[in-house]
Amino acid sequence: MPSSRDVVFVDGVRTPFGRSGPKGLYAETRADDLVVRVIRELMRRNPGLPPERVDEVAIAATTQIGDQGLTIGRSAAVLAGLPKSVPGYAIDRMCAGAMTAVTSVAGGIAFGAYDVAIAGGVEHMGRHPMGEGVDPNPRFLSEKLVDGSALIMGMTAENLHDRYPEISKERADAYAVASQEKVAKAYADGRIQLDLVPTATRKAAEGWGLATEDEPPRPGTTMAGLAALKTPFRPHGRVTAGNAAGLNDGATGCVVAAADVAAELGLTARMRLVSYAFAGVDPEVMGVGPIPSTERALRLAGLTIDDLGLIEINEAFAVQVLAFLSHFGIPDDDPRVNPYGGAIAFGHPLASSGVRLMTQLARQFGDRPDVRYGVTTMCVGMGMGGTVIWENLAWEGAK
């Protein structure tokens, strides 16, 4: 009995993000344990949701090996103590993994296959460096299907500077400084902590610890400081560790439900899914992906860019955000864009980030009853973009 029902975002949480590497927060913490912690916190925060009413657990990871393998949605559900009757699966669209987890279960909810689902993502880039175990088909290059730079994300960002010559390194650095400042302010205002779940970290030589805040942000970042950084992807290039997201570890998750079921269970629906779209672009300029995906999502929603009061765009690279903004004629420092800052400061554990964007958008919606629509969008490796448009259920116009 196919149906079409309103799909709502109920609640999202994430672990604090860590810097990858032997000194990072989660250097000796398993990726699946991060997911388990997120799922348990979602259940704890939403006591009206009986565990057996969760119809699906979709968890994304880019590298599905080891502690991110074994069909992580299912294995994390079992480890989290959800009833064995709750199924789960693993999903991958690289950086847009968690976003795709949300749109996939949302499609299932709209179709009537599920009532409630948990969707999220994880990436432990310390335990699973980008590109671990990949085996690209030689035809990619022999037939020139993609440019040789397509699989190196930093190079695609440099390519994007070539395509948008007006986006200088200085503009990118200025954007990055602003992102750091916005994150510091959001932390000071206590907006971020609300959706972080304190997560145990153990290191054999140091004992147990507890992660309560993101590790990647570098408050106090200055233009001068960024100017001194190396450009590892090109001599005298523009992309640096300072104007890009780093290598990070973390997990996110959210509860997505049919609007009527959320009401039945007394769950607070915070955003309604309006439309979503994914689009492909040339892999060597994957950073432009959000432009066609957002255009398509707007078209599906019957909206224009001007209808969007809040824009949560993933900051894989400053240049990719600036390309998006200039395409839509939005100033670099527009207050609608990433009000809490973005991945340049928070970090970007690949497949987890999509739900971070949604969680932050939901939080901002709560504070902004004047805003009706918002968007979450991100670029994806191999040349893609993903966009989800949401309606603020706290919008004052509805009352």
Partner: protein
């Protein structure tokens, strides 16, 4: 403290790793101590002087800070801490050292309860003995519902909880519950409780699931620190009457279980009694005194020796061949379908999870045997010990056959037919006609010669003795008997099967009645002999109460059954006529069909008394009975060692502990015979060097 640090020269040090943790909700900073000896969970955290000193240093650094809101202690994955380093404790030589060990533990642990900020123990895994005491010293405790073992096992070994346990626990959870942990559980095969039960008893203030135990514990601690969550304590010390009643009740239990034979539980009782009124200094000093007394007593040393035998020697049986020689066992045959055979079939099916075929010549007996197994499986299912699928599997594994053809593809066939050499030889010949050349033929005989049983077979090298103790599901010992021609592959297979059956095994030479029955029969022979001479049954039967054996000789006779006891006695009499007598009165008791000398109400059956009564006889006194019985044991053990029945005295002791249930504080038997001076009197030498199972000279 250098004195004892040197004694514990190979201490595996449990480190105290300290990290600052931001308590959620802005509750401030906690200094979180992780106890971790650097090994995985198979080597649990223990405390020796170096570990205690490290914890002391960590607490000194913490006490010097003024920026902390709380202190926490937790363990490494799966393990909190399991108590004192027992290997080191066994090396303590002087009372001063023993006192130092007690004092050091108190001095370090008590700091946790005497800081300016509250302390929290997060019991994430097994917490035993001194490990649990660390937690008890803290202001608050959380526990994981996944914790498999919480215990104060000291009394089981012959110690008392000596680092605060007897003083802190009764005040926290009340004397009755505390005595359950301090005395009742240790004296009940060292029972341990799980996390949920510990929480229910009040040992912990909050319980969380293992998946995110530490995180949720820290959240809870933060709420306690901010005052959002309050923890109330019941004022147990206010009720002197209830306190005394609990202590008196436990004392009655101790009397029943150990009959004064082991000092430790009595000392623990006194300490718990004291805990109601004593201040910390007084209470801890009394614990140290008790600890020192017990550490300098041979009962504890025998207890540590026994513990080591059960934990280590039982897992690596002396003389067992290379494990790699063991053959795979994918199907088991059991000859016979009587009660013993059925019990064996159930055990093999449950543990080996391979098909088990029972054979008998009589369809009715066969049906009854298989029916018994199925009924037992249903009982396990009813108790929730196995799932319905597992029950189906087990029932499907066990079948019956009227012919031995069903053994054709078996790898291990055990006989449990009537104790008659000719019958057993015939059975093995029939089995050999059917099975492959490498199939192991095992006999559950309790007294017949294995070598003789194998003599006429084509492959005598495949025959091995595999002697269980009744009830087979409960008693953990297997005597594995090597016949003269038994080969290493057969023996290795027998040991591997024993391990899979979760039994501890001891290698025994083919000799009359092997170890446990030979010693029990010798010992019972002396007691029955005394009654034959005219000692009243009551006097003789209680003459050995001082050993604290699990049951008196005549109670044991009743359990085994007089007919079986007589049969074994006759076998041993034939082998060693000058040391083993056959009591005519016992034969008469069997003839009269009596189950023993005791009636159902535990009084002495007048007819049985009449059988044993002797006109005008004056048998030996109780003390003489004890002396005779112990001398007999000392003599027999020495002869067995000279005959190389087992590799060492340790194996005799292991057999008596696991097969006869003799207590830890006797060390099986040889440590008791040594410390009572009987070994020296009878054999002019000890069984074990001083210090092995006694206080070092």
């Amino acid at each position: 403290m250098s004195g004892i640090t040197e004694i514990f020269d190979d201490e595996v040090v449990t480190h105290a790793l300290v990290r600052d943790v931001a308590l959620p909700g802005g509750a401030g900073t906690m200094a979180l101590i992780t106890l971790d000896n650097g090994f995985d969970h198979t080597k649990p955290n223990t405390f020796g002087p170096r570990g205690l000193t490290e914890l002391d240093a960590a607490l000194t650094a913490i006490a010097a800070r003024d920026d902390l809101a709380a202190v926490g202690v937790t363990g490494k994955p799966f393990i909190f801490a399991v108590g004192a380093d027992l290997k080191g404790a066994a090396l303590v030589r002087t009372r001063a050292q023993a006192e130092e060990l007690g004092r050091l533990g108190h001095e370090v642990f008590r700091r946790l309860g005497e800081l300016d900020v509250p302390s929290f123990a997060f019991v994430n895994g097994a917490a035993m003995g001194g490990g649990l005491e660390v937690a008890l010293h803290c202001t608050y405790r959380t526990i994981s519902s996944g914790v498999p073992a919480v215990a104060l096992p000291e009394c089981f070994l012959g110690l008392v909880p000596g680092w605060g346990g007897t003083q802190l626990l009764p005040r926290l959870i009340g004397p009755a519950n505390a005595l359950k942990l301090i005395i009742e559980n240790p004296l009940s095969q060292n029972r341990m409780i799980k996390g949920r039960e510990a929480f229910r008893l009040g040992v912990a203030d909050a319980i969380f699931e293992p998946a995110d135990f530490l995180e949720e514990s820290l959240r809870w601690a933060a709420r306690v620190v901010t005052g959002e969550t309050a923890v109330s304590r019941h004022p147990f010390i206010a009720d002197a009457g209830a306190w005394q009643a609990a202590v008196d009740g436990a004392r009655a239990l101790v009397d029943l279980k150990v009959r004064g034979a082991s000092p430790a539980p009595y000392r623990a009782l006194d300490l718990v009694e004291l805990a109601r009124t004593a201040g910390r200094d007084e209470g801890f000093a009394a614990e140290t005194a008790a600890l020192a007394d017990l550490l300098m007593g041979d009962e504890l040393r025998a207890g540590l020796y026994s513990f080591d035998l059960v934990q280590r020697r039982a897992k690596r049986p002396a003389g067992a061949p290379d494990r790699a020689l063991a053959r795979k066992v994918t199907k088991v045959g059991v000859v016979g379908a009587g009660l013993m055979a059925s019990q064996l079939a159930l055990l093999f099916a449950r543990r080996l999870e391979v098909p088990v075929v029972l054979t008998d010549l009589d369809q009715e007996r066969l049906d009854k045997g298989v029916g018994y197994v199925r009924a037992e499986v249903d009982k396990l299912l009813g108790k929730g010990r196995i799932t319905a699928d597992q029950a189906n599997r087990l029932k499907g594994l066990v079948s019956g056959s009227l012919t031995k053809d069903a053994f054709a593809d078996a790898d291990f066939v055990i006989e449990a037919v009537f104790e008659d050499l000719e019958i057993k030889k015939r059975v093995f010949a029939e089995v050999e006609a059917v099975v492959g050349p490498e199939c192991v033929l095992a006999t559950n005989t309790s007294s017949l010669p294995v070598t003789a049983m194998a003599a006429d077979l084509w492959h005598p090298e495949r025959v091995v003795g595999f002697h269980f103790f009744n009830p087979v599901a409960v008693l953990p010992l297997l005597e594995i008997v090597r016949g003269e021609r038994t080969d290493d592959a057969t023996l290795a297979t027998a040991f591997a099967v024993a391990r899979t059956l979760k039994k501890s095994s001891v290698l025994v030479k083919d000799s009359p009645a092997f170890v446990v029955n030979r010693l029990l029969t010798r010992f019972m022979g002396e007691v029955i002999g005394a009654v034959d001479e005219g000692t009243p049954i009551e006097t003789a039967d209680h003459a050995l109460d001082g050993l604290g054996l699990p049951m008196t000789p005549f109670a044991l006779l009743q359990l085994v059954g007089p007919a079986v006891a007589l049969h074994v006695a006759e076998t041993l009499h034939r082998a060693f006529p000058d040391r083993y007598r056959v009591s005519a009165n016992l034969a008469e008791l069997v003839k009269a069909g009596k189950p023993g000398v005791y009636a159902a109400d535990l009084s002495i059956d007048p007819e049985a008394r009449k059988i044993f009564e002797r006109e005008g006889g004056t048998g030996p006194s109780g003390e003489e009975v004890r002396d005779r019985a112990l001398r007999a044991l000392a003599e027999e053990v020495r002869i067995m060692l000279d005959e190389k029945v087992v590799a060492a005295a340790e194996d005799i002791d292991l057999c008596m502990i696991l097969g006869a249930g003799w207590p830890f504080h006797t060390g099986g038997i040889t440590p008791y015979l040594d410390r009572e001076g009987i070994a020296k009197k009878v054999n002019r030498r000890r069984f074990l060097q001083p210090g092995v199972a006694s206080v070092p000279a």
